[in-house]
Amino acid sequence: MTWRRTRRRLGRLLLALLLVVIFLYATLPFIWAIATSLRTGAALFDPSPFAALPTLDNYRSALGGRTFLRSIANSVAVAGSVVLLSLLIGLTAGYALGRTSFRGRRLLLATILAVSMFPQVAVLSGMFELIRVLGLYDNLLALTLSYMIFTLPFTVWVLATFMRNLPIELEEAAMVDGATTMVVLTRIFLPLLAPALVTTGLISFIAAWNEFLFALTFTLTDEKRTVPVAIALMTGSSAFELPWGQIMAASVIVTVPLVALVLVFQRRIAAGLVAGAVKG
């Protein structure tokens, strides 16, 4: 009996150790980025944790730079408009796909799934051409439009699945009372859909906020850069010495809101990712 208990305790101890290692593995790189962002000069290159008193100089110069604040505003505008547009389109399409039957429904669903598997680079030249024809080159609208290719399939898929699982009696009662489809959707389904909308909206926001390839290719001037491109292209006064302190400060600035969102909504996001992938 005692041997069994010792073994159990040992197992718990090993598990606890393992969990600590996992925690450090997941968080240390970000913590190191924060630590670096608080240092300047020679302290930057000293690995000791007590090399210097923390300073906010890097944050001052990152935010004081000519265009970084502008990039943040651009990213907010693009990600925000992407979320609104994909929720709007996803809501109506999700209703049609989730609650009605029509010929070609399965084909449409399969197409949506196929689009979500497109490699972005496969549409890059065609999209570039389209954007130039529409006169949207170096315009944030080009990003809002092109990001639909990865946010829409996911949004429609999750919302359709979610609506499919709502009880049918809800809309039957309303329809008998003479409500139109639009009324059913906005008055009855919308409140019930709130959790699903928050989830898909958040995931779309994060995806749009983080996107790099389209943003790098479809914008040209510093005034139109989004945050990931701005951080990727950050260079110092000399080409040989990258301003690591500033890059880390900028990285922390754009990541902290994201990490906060994720921590606050972690259950929602986890549920959304699972819903999007489970039926894959």
Binding site: L109, I112, L130, W157, S251
Partner: protein
């Protein structure tokens, strides 16, 4: 398929409403996916260049014959496949292991589960820059730690050394993408009822036997879906290689190769051919995986 009989007034009313409801989706998808894809395929058969004013000429499959004879393309194919296979395999094993650990009833596992999401939430570009700095060949904390511990005699050029660059990219991807695997594995694990383990205890299965005989077969379908998603993601990798290794051919992926020709060399026709080749590869693999894994293609009645 759903709701009342297809002939009922309600069903008919809803069917009438379906088309206008679907129209925005269909138009948007045609505009941002269908049309650009078709144009890319068409451009891949021409000698189009990025400079305006040059009307492209049809050149047949010339771009493709050149593509197939370019050793750099084949190196990009090799890099992409090695990257995808290795990183997804590591992420799956690590993801399941971590999910098993997080599934144990322990104090503080909520905090841990939240912490696991951090790498997933960090923008890929930021993650790449963070690791670029940590792996810096002179001042990086990783090199300083390795030197202090006496593991290496000289600092390692993780991202610049052609023999190491690809493995460095893989390691960073594993850090960034394992949380996704953990999340999906954890969701599958939490659906398993406790009773099956009680039965296993009676049968005298040890923890390892329990995992391979009971847990793994039960979470396999969910795991297959996660592996499919990650593989498709890994095959189109771009950001990590672009930031970590620049356009260095030693670690360039197919996406990096295609964009380099498209934008940097302004060779739209040839770049489109490379992009189309990648698309065909992914499409073929997807069909294989869908057939092999019998992944369901629609949210159907029976899985309510």
């Amino acid at each position: 398929m759903t709701g009342p009989g297809a002939g009922s007034p309600l069903a008919r009313a809803k069917r009438r409403a379906a088309l206008p409801f679907l129209l925005p989706l269909i138009v948007t998808l045609l505009l941002v996916a269908g049309w650009p894809l078709l144009r890319t395929v068409w451009l891949s058969l021409t000698d189009a260049r990025l400079e305006a004013g040059l009307a492209p000429h049809f050149v047949g499959i010339a771009n493709y014959t050149y593509l197939l004879s370019d050793p750099e393309w084949w190196s990009a194919v090799r890099n992409t496949v090695v990257f995808a296979v290795t990183s997804v395999a590591l992420e799956t094993v690590l993801g399941v292991l971590i999910a098993l650990a997080l599934n144990e009833k322990m104090r503080g596992r909520g905090i841990l589960r939240a912490a696991m999401l951090i790498p997933w939430a960090i923008p890929t570009v930021v993650a790449a820059q963070m690791w670029n700095w940590m792996l810096h060949d002179q001042y990086g904390v990783v090199n300083q730690a390795l030197l202090a511990l006496g593991v290496v005699q000289d600092p390692v050029a993780f991202t610049a050394d052609p023999d190491l660059a690809l493995w460095t990219v893989i390691a960073v991807d594993v850090w960034k993408a394992t949380p996704f695997m953990v999340l999906l594995s954890l969701a599958a694990l939490q659906l398993l009822p406790d009773e099956i383990y009680e039965a296993a205890e009676i049968d005298g299965l040890g923890p390892v036997g329990r995992f391979f005989r009971i847990t793994l077969p039960l979470i396999r379908p969910a795991l297959m879906v996660a592996v499919t998603f990650r593989s498709l993601d890994a095959l189109r990798v771009f950001d990590l290689m672009y930031i970590l290794t620049g356009n260095s051919a030693a670690a360039a992926s197919m996406s990096v190769y295609a964009r380099q020709h498209l934008v940097d060399f302004q060779d739209v026709g040839y770049g489109s051919a490379a992009a189309t080749a990648l698309f065909l590869m992914i499409a073929a693999l997807t069909s294989l995986l869908v057939i092999a894994g019998r992944i369901q293609a629609a949210p159907e009645e029976d899985d309510r």
